[in-house]
């Protein structure tokens, strides 16, 4: 629709009617004067008509002006309405019937459209400027900064991030944070559990993690960070989560190096042990039938010594783990009688060499227990090993197990040997503590009981000792029936039944492919 030609037609028509009305007025005036006052002289006739014509023209032009200028006024109002300084000007009524109604409405809507476009451009400009400032600040920050949206996708990573992690920030952006980065936390208090608990549930939240290993997936190098997270649900720009990384690799890696020193020492000790045990076996296989009883006994003792050394190496490692809070247990349902008989079977060789018999007395119908097979084996082996060493002159050791009044499975290892003096009894579970009087006669490192107590503690049980000099010692420890362990695991929502020395932890994977 050509609004403009319609408008011109309307104006032309309007002017036609106005001029026609003006002419009609003049004709009517002339006719009236001529009819009623024909005696008037032509001069007065002309003057009268001029006066009447003047008033008529004034009236008509006044009416016409209003009609003809209305469209311009409407547009003027529209422009002023959207002008920056004219906010108080009300918007014109575009529905009002006026000359060139469609044209005016059309033009006004163009004006409004233009204004909103300008506004949008201005807004964008200011946002871009803001982004540039933010970018500058973020990139000047010497700490890695990572921004996540509500879907845990990385929307931004600053230059420090790429410097620390060795990957351009642009490559990180657009990736899911869990696939872009390999993060391992010390416990089940992880980024994902925090976000799961915070996202959408609280308006804002913040959290801090210590000793988080962060690197790129599939690459060996990773650094140790403290990690701070800030969650903001209503962030209009979609930056829901900010992560700031504090590099503490220098500090933390010292602990790790201490651990790895032990780990490497253990590795180096175990290699010759493996060979020793292997070659002893070969000798036994090849020469066994031909050896004299005395040599055969030496062979057995040699193997027992190698096994003892292997057990000691394990204890060193356990001490390091306990002190580094890295002792973790995988609790499984076990038949306690089987566990005990397994250990007793293995230790019988060493006891037999010294002429000692290990007797067991296990209550029937014990409930199954929740234990870490390997760790609890060490406890029993340590207690039996001590009993063998301190049995001096006596020839029996008793191992008994029963369900005690507290509903715990209680196990005792009793010997009839040297016994422990009351004054040192409170210290026997201390690290490196040994009975000075007996040090010369009896081997040992003073680690076994320390390790045993830590393992029993971690199982949620207790260990204690009763002893009298020259009458012998009884070491007693408890473990939980599996039903109780399982109950605790369920209550904590931890199906993996993993514990460390300080309680339940959730098993988590370090490696993700």
């Amino acid at each position: 629709m050509d609004f403009l030609s319609k408008f011109r037609r309307q104006v032309k028509l309007y002017l036609f009617w106005v001029l026609l009305a003006e002419n009609a007025l003049l004709v009517a005036a002339w006719w009236a004067v001529h009819t009623y006052h024909h005696e008037l002289s032509p001069l007065y006739t002309v003057i009268g008509m001029a006066v009447l014509g003047l008033f008529g023209t004034l009236l008509v032009s006044d009416a016409a002006e209003k009609r003809i200028t209305q469209p311009f006024i409407t547009l003027w109002q529209a422009i002023h309405h959207i002008a920056p300084q004219g906010a108080e000007e009300p918007a014109p009524d575009l529905n009002q019937k006026q000359l060139g109604h469609e044209l005016v409405a059309n033009l006004a809507s163009h004006v409004y459209q233009l204004a909103s476009t300008i506004q949008a451009v201005e807004k964008t400009n200011s946002k871009v400027a803001q982004d540039l400032h933010a970018n500058f600040i973020a990139n000047s920050l010497p700490l890695p900064l990572i921004v996540l949206d509500k879907d845990e996708m990385i929307t931004y990573a600053n230059e420090a991030t790429s410097k620390y992690l060795g990957k351009p920030a642009d490559d990180l952006a657009g990736q899911n944070v869990y696939t872009a980065l390999d993060m391992s936390f010390k416990s089940d208090d992880t980024l994902s559990t925090w976000l799961k608990n915070s996202a959408g549930k609280t308006a804002t939240a913040s959290h801090k993690w210590e000793h988080v290993r962060i690197g790129l997936p599939g690459q060996g190098d990773s650094l140790l960070f403290d990690l701070a997270g800030y969650y903001n649900k209503d962030n209009s720009l979609g930056y829901e989560t900010l992560l700031i990384l504090f590099d503490h690799t220098d500090v933390y890696s010292q602990d790790d190096q201490a651990m790895s020193f032990v780990a490497i020492s253990v590795h180096e000790l175990r290699t010759p042990l493996t060979l020793l045990r292997g070659y002893i076996e070969v000798f036994d296989e090849e020469l066994g039938p031909t050896l004299t009883p005395e040599l055969k006994e030496f062979m057995t003792k040699m193997d027992a010594a190698a096994q003892q050394l292997a057990a000691f190496v394990d204890n060193i490692l356990n001490v390091a783990k306990i002190e580094d809070n890295q002792l973790t247990l995988q609790l499984h349902e076990e038949n306690w009688q089987n566990v005990i008989e397994n250990v007793v079977g293995d230790l019988n060789l060493r006891a037999g060499v010294r002429g000692i018999t290990i007797k067991t007395d296990i209550a029937p119908n014990l409930p199954t227990v929740g234990v870490d097979r390997y760790s609890i084996y060490e406890v029993l082996a340590n207690l039996l090993d001590n009993a063998i060493k301190y049995s001096k002159g006596t020839d029996e050791i008793y191992v008994s197990a029963l369900l005690n009044k507290q509903g715990l499975v209680e196990t005792s290892v009793k010997d009839f040997g040297l016994g422990i003096d009351a004054s040192i009894l409170p210290h026997v579970f201390d690290k490196f503590y040994r009975n000075h009087r007996n040090r010369a006669q009896i081997g040992g490192t003073g680690l076994g009981l320390y390790v045993s107590r830590a393992i029993v503690d971690a199982h949620g049980g207790e260990i204690s000792v009763n002893s009298k000099v020259n009458e012998g010692s009884t070491f007693t420890f408890t473990v939980l029936p599996f039903s109780q362990v399982q109950g605790a695991g369920k209550t904590l929502g931890n199906p993996d039944l993993t514990r460390n020395a300080h309680g339940w932890i959730k098993n988590h994977s370090l490696y993700r492919d």
Binding site: T271, G278, L510
Partner: protein, 128 residues
């Protein structure tokens, strides 16, 4: 064991004396054993040849045992992998790392805690 077709074992182990002891015990038990001394050669052998069992040490030169395990367990990199992978190591891991390795492997043995004969007994019980 099928006497006509001995089961094949690849032993990836850099400690010569240990592989010697293991080879001796395993050969006597009827297995056919190949030894590779580093991760790279071991991985290449595992990818090109067909083995029933792979004994994998973790602390080995060139490519670590963990990397070898990952590659062999990745179907994209090693398709048609049927061998049981048994970790044989003296290296102590953090428990969570160990749990992760155990999950990917078919067995985890600390060499100092077993004799060659016990290794044979363990392998004999495998379902292959």
């Amino acid at each position: 064991m099928d006497a006509a077709k001995p089961k094949r074992i690849l032993c990836i182990e850099d400690e010569h004396f240990i592989s010697e002891l293991y080879t001796r015990a395993l050969t006597r038990a009827g297995y056919k054993v190949d030894v590779q001394l580093d991760g790279q050669k071991g991985m290449a052998a595992a990818q090109t040849d067909v083995y029933d069992i792979i004994l994998l040490d973790l602390m080995i030169p060139n490519i670590t045992g963990i990397e070898v395990l990952r590659t062999l367990r990745n179907p994209a990199k090693t398709p048609k992998m049927h061998a049981k992978i048994i970790i044989t190591t003296n290296l102590e891991q953090r428990e969570d790392i160990r749990a992760d390795i155990e999950q990917q492997a078919d067995g985890y043995l600390v060499k100092a805690e077993i004799t060659p004969r016990e290794l044979v007994e363990f392998l004999n019980k495998l379902d292959i």
